[in-house]
Amino acid sequence: MDVTNVVDDVVRREHGRVLSILIGVLGDFDLAEDALQETLVTALERWPRDGIPNNPAAWMITVGRRKAIDRLRREKNLGRKTALLADPVAISLAEPDMTGETAIPDERLKLIFTCCHPALSPEARVALTLRTLGGLTTAEIAHAFLVPVPTMNQRLTRAKAKIRGAAIPYAVPSVEAIPERLDAVLNVLYLIFNEGYAASAGDNLIRRELCAEAIRLTLPLVALLESRPELGPQPEALGLAALMLLHDSRRPARTDAEGEIILLEDQDRGLWDRGQIDAGVGLLDRAIAARLPGPYQIQAAIAALHAQAPTPAETDWPQIALLYGRLWHYTPSPVVELNRAVAVGMARGPLAGLALLQEPELAAALDGYHWYHAAVADFLRRASYRGSARAAYVRALALCENRAERSLLGRRIAEL
């Protein structure tokens, strides 16, 4: 690997940790980001010549802090932030041990709780989290969320202005506030994962990378929360991590060489990542032990039942139907009811599934949703009503805009 790749790799791995400390020391998002950017330029100049430091994060923090001070000195005439230069806390962090012997404090919890503060818009929370903790560039985030780069840039700028202007604290919330605030954090991570998971074949790589990014953000969050027992058990965080690992374990089997979607029942289960499934189930078991159920744990349990079925026919559909019923109590959405109806149909036969799907309230709520018509079509096909099945697939196709999903529906119609 050439040194540029090594530097890139280290930077991505350490970005959140280094930035979270610089923000704490400097008390300013923009200053910390600018300082880190300059530090990366210096690293690219020096590391190839001098070698990569033993503790790259400590090196980046030290250099980043000096860059920030240089920058403040240059701006001193403008009278900005001179107080910081005399701040004893800042000075004491000036020279962390460069040998790598000293543990660097991990400030990422503060950063993620600030970036996911409910006073910021949900879009801004997602963007800020990916930018600061994930180290993605503004352009990468814009591409992943299909918005123009200037729009994303403005979104990030506005969010940082609000953090500064309204004095959103850079802190882990109090124990009483944790449940509500952690909900907001988990929701952001879930949105990031889903954005990547829904971006199937034909979409750009950066979107699919969001799944890996969400996992890279969630696993350290779980570890950091567990290192703070005074905050109480956090089974929903464990449940979310489990859910991500279990869904992501199927990635190699979800599309074929041409990028066409392969449905769960047609996937080659040998391609599922067993190590990831075991890790997901392990996390879920630890979550359930806390006996505080929640929507992420229930969704992870559903994913685990799929992951642990050796063949589609051996899937525990009655249990899955039951879990969707419980999920509905937390998130009473028609899509959850759709999934329950499908599970019931798989457990008790296509006519039982159709009866639930054709409940007038559900049919009305989901009439514009292509997966609803695809589910109806699927049960009609299984029940050998070929004409009605074809009509329902055609309706689904007309409503569907994703290229890979359209191709799948087209294949179903052709097979009838």
Binding site: A166, A167, I168, A177
Partner: protein
Amino acid sequence: MRYLILIYVDPATYASVSEAEQQAEMAEYYALGPTFRERGWDVSGEALQPVDTATTVRQRDGKFLVTDGPFAETKEHLGGFYLVDCANLDEALEFARSVPDVRRGSIEVRPVLEFS
């Protein structure tokens, strides 16, 4: 950091509130200032007379225009305000949550622009 806590309420929602409830709510309001002063937050504020006592002034093309009523035609009107000096937004939001009208109306939290 100073925050203006703006209390917006729809006067129509008071119609269904009983006398006893109103008195309990007033007691809650009276308790707010002292409670938070104990936390070291500097609190001041006022309740306002009903919105039909409001007058709006504008200057357009050099001419003053004085009109009856609030500036915006909305159901929820500014009913009162607090000015709180506390550490950060989380503390200001904690204050906002304890304003009794949070249950019926909306509480807007606005950081004060400091000219220093």
